[in-house]
Symmetry: C2
Subunit: 559 residues, 2 copies
């Protein structure tokens, strides 16, 4: 007697109820063709995740319930577990799994542990469930969990005590670098502690600032990985669990029993997880592609400066959308060097994307002329630098308006952290691809892309040149910022690890005045970040919903 599981990780879209219904029905049909006993779909697959305040619209809940009922009609000859929003008679909402079989909703499981930290706000919408659910399929007792339920000890323990042999987990677990290893370690601990198998089906796709990486997986009761689905793309992982690969038969109630089917055995090879840089690169490609396409755009435009940020952004855009859907603007000023202009065009040519040169000099001269009488007696300062960045923003937005292209902004996390960027200037754009990528990682990813091919789009001169905004004569980033290896290390400690100034000083790794200066820069740039474009979270703590700091804030972290 074996249990055949199908883990259908599919890329659904928030709010696209008809589209999601089609995707889920296809998944059920495919699982039927595989003669699977159980097919799992991701958490809240009907609505997409996270639906945020769409959940406050009663009609949206109605529509999602209607989708679930129609999907139940398609579920025959197997058990389909579909994530949806349940509602009780008092109008309370639940993050739920519909367990569909025999053409009807046979049972509903309601998520018990609601995450309300980091990027999560589930307590804003949902009431926690308190009833475990176990059903029998293919002769195996299956215990239901939804995402967070499997990260905590109590829900798995209770299911095991009630005789579950495999824990099913439908999930929407947001990506950050290395998250798959964390998931595998946590779930393996639960498998071993409770002597049960684990089947985890994760969402895949980009949704605003989040990317879901898929990588659905199976673990045996010894905590060993026995199957892994693709990362960063749709996939259906089908595998048989033999009796020795599930927990021992337990006793307890079952909601229902679905009959076992005799079939030849099926065993997928265990796929190797992607390496660190490939994983991050693929996350950025998926996040970018889905933001562009799910918002109805096909083509993007970005400024090509000859620097590494815009070069990497162009690579990612070309890989995500095809180079014919990427347009680069080279916008030289009096401070642009011949070398950076040449490099900008080299990148564009190497990727095969369209490149257009538009000088900002006439507009810059007009701006200086217009403002001269107003600024008489005052020297040049950051105002004139910002003017150049803003003129580039104005030109890029004009292309966006005229041709319907989405603007990509190319700033990295080190810049947005310190405020080393111009509001309404280089920050202009609908999507900030590298918003959560620190500068040193930008270099790593550019080198990775050169190694991986196709082509070698980022010239060595771009990788070797001292970074510069080229907004003043002989300017480099290090006139204002500490060297990037030092800066990024301080930012990791302060932003991602949430250490206090005092703790960072106590590390004795950096000069104290430098740490204080960086921490102050981060605190003071909050108002800029609040008007920044969304971008893809790839670290444990991204700017955005992950880190909610007031703008008006007099807390002096500095001693």
């Amino acid at each position: 007697m074996t249990l055949r599981l199908a883990l259908a990780q599919c890329n659904v879209t928030v709010g696209d109820l008809p589209g999601n219904e089609r995707r889920l029905e296809e998944a059920v049909r495919a699982a039927q063709a595989w003669r699977a006993d159980v097919v799992l779909t991701p958490e809240l697959a009907v609505t997409g995740y996270p639906p945020e305040d769409l959940l406050l619209k009663p009609r949206f809940i109605d529509d999602n319930l209607a989708v679930l009922r129609r999907l139940a009609g398609a579920a025959s000859g197997l058990v389909a577990v579909v994530g949806f929003v349940d509602r009780d008679r008092a109008g309370r909402l639940y993050n739920a799994a519909g367990v569909l079989t025999g053409g009807r909703v046979a049972a509903v499981y309601r998520k018990q542990r609601l995450p309300n930290y980091g990027v999560f706000d589930e307590k804003r919408y949902f009431t926690p469930g308190d009833q475990p659910l176990i059903f029998e399929a293919g002769g195996v007792r299956c215990g239901m969990t939804i995402c967070e339920d499997l990260w905590l000890d109590e829900p798995p323990r209770r299911l095991a005590a009630e005789g579950a042999q495999v824990l099913l987990n439908i999930s929407a677990s947001p990506y950050h670098a290395g998250k798959l290893h964390t998931r595998e370690a946590v779930f393996a601990r639960q498998a071993r502690a409770n002597r049960v198998a684990v089947a985890h089906c994760n969402l895949v796709g980009g949704q605003d600032e989040l990317v879901f990486d898929g990588a659905s997986l199976l673990l045996n009761p010894r905590g060993q990985l026995t199957a892994l689905a693709a990362q960063f793309r749709d996939d259906m992982l089908v595998a048989d669990l033999e009796p020795d690969e599930v927990g021992r038969v337990g006793r307890g109630r079952s909601a229902f029993r679905s009959p076992a089917q005799p079939r030849p055995r099926l065993r997928p090879a265990v796929r190797q997880p992607l390496g660190r840089l490939e994983e991050i690169y693929r996350a950025l490609v998926l996040g970018l592609r889905d933001y562009v396409r799910k918002n109805g755009f096909s083509t993007v435009v970005l400024g090509l400066s000859g620097g590494v940020d815009s070069a990497l952004t162009a690579c990612l855009a070309a890989d995500a959308l095809g180079s014919e859907h990427v347009m680069g603007l080279v916008m030289p000023s009096r401070y642009s060097s011949a070398a950076t202009q040449r490099d900008a065009k080299t990148v564009g040519a190497a990727l095969g994307m369209g490149v257009r040169e538009v000088s900002i000099e006439p507009l810059f001269r007009a701006a200086l002329g217009t403002l001269r009488p107003c600024f008489a007696g005052r020297g040049e300062d950051v105002t004139e630098q910002n003017l150049q960045a803003r003129i580039r923003g104005l030109i890029t937005m004009a292309f966006s308006n005229k041709f319907g292209w989405l603007v990509l902004t190319t700033g990295n996390k080190s810049e947005i952290a310190t405020g080393y960027c111009t509001l309404y200037g280089d920050m202009v754009g609908g999507f900030a691809v590298l918003k959560d990528v620190p500068k040193m990682l930008v270099y790593e990813l550019a080198r990775y892309r050169n190694r991986r091919g196709p082509g070698r789009p980022v010239p060595d001169s771009v990788l070797r040149r001292a970074p510069s905004a080229e907004l003043a004569p002989n300017q480099t980033d290090q006139d204002t910022l500490p060297p990037y290896p030092v800066l990024d290390a301080i930012l990791t400690a302060y932003v991602e690890d949430d250490r206090s100034l005092q703790e960072i000083l106590a590390l004795r790794r950096f000069p104290p005045t430098l740490v204080t200066r960086v921490v102050r820069m981060v605190d003071r740039a909050e108002y800029k970040r609040r008007q920044a474009a969304p971008g893809i979270k790839i670290t444990p703590k991204a700017f955005g919903k992950d880190r909610r700091i007031p703008i008006t804030n007099r807390y002096q972290v500095a001693a």
Copy 2:
């Protein structure tokens, strides 16, 4: 035997622990001078409200605990109730009230009901308390509540059952128009239902998008308002509760007893609440003043178009900061009429603020010239309109950079709702004063300001002229938008009342195609709002933390 209460509504600042400590110590001293038995301060007065993710910094919690301990030292001869963040040994945080007397922290009450809806995220940070607290002061049994605790039935009922005669409530209740009446009605119901007096001390001041209006109040056990503190400013309301003004003596435990003091009786007159328009106007003035000053600015700059939005914004800025701290930029183009230019200058002169004229024509011509070769063969469209708005944004930001002025953006809620505004153009600014003020209310407030004086700063021609962005020949807003009375009514139904398209259609108040068009405009403008400046919430549902709609969202509300 009477209980003398002092309600110290003070304007603290998020994160300013030393400044808040000084304010709170002054409040305690003042209450001592009044020979009060109990002084109440607002919810989380030590940290300011809402402190958001500052709460995740352990050092911030340490610092706040140190403030509370020092304040306890000042609390002698009375009971001081001070809002702070408590932490237990497991590191869990509580939204708490320190009850200070005899130079020590005599008791701590932990908030039991944590709001996690609307603008609130308290479950992200806090664990709910479960212990009621009653203490005796001036011979009266006082039951503690914090904000939300008094909005729900259970905590007051339990306190009354345990013999509380007066419910003390420390609060940070965000303002929206008419909120005071709601608060009074809810608290009066609790007073009557439980036959207890209510003493509610509310925060005052602006914090990013929120304004707290003060208006602390006393109710007798019949639910009648017996005292009301000032709205929108610091105040200390001192009043005696006679034995017939509190609930009957109950039986039960007291945490401690503070002795009664003989004094002559003190009874404040019941103040009249402000009228509707004055209330909203004052909320905007306070929100604007606090955003500017608490962020370290003194002077603001804004574009004066000759329209009613910028005229009202200028009035509010002059009233908030003094006209010497307000600078207006008149930025005509080829499409600006002589009449609007004249009106813009009239407003500036009437308010006595600085006005500078800067033509955008040279920059506009340079932009058109720069882009002509790129846009060959394509007609004029919204691109050229946006260029003008963005050039104005560029100029305004240049003044901001050069002189250190904060830019106010002048768009209203009707515009930001429908996306009838230009990203990086008229949306440029650090603060969006009218972000939550619908257009029709802008007119009402402008007329109110003319009536109230000083002066009559908004010319009749501004109030009578058809609104226009003046970005194309003979343009008016109604070329694109429905008439504002209709638009605002649809927006109220869709945004503030969260009605579905179907429900709005069922009202049969508006043409169906119009409703569908407006609803679609609102949905599609989410990406613009995500990059908008913060602004002051004055309605039950503002854009911002109140309304969290995904950008990537294919939900078709339209049937």
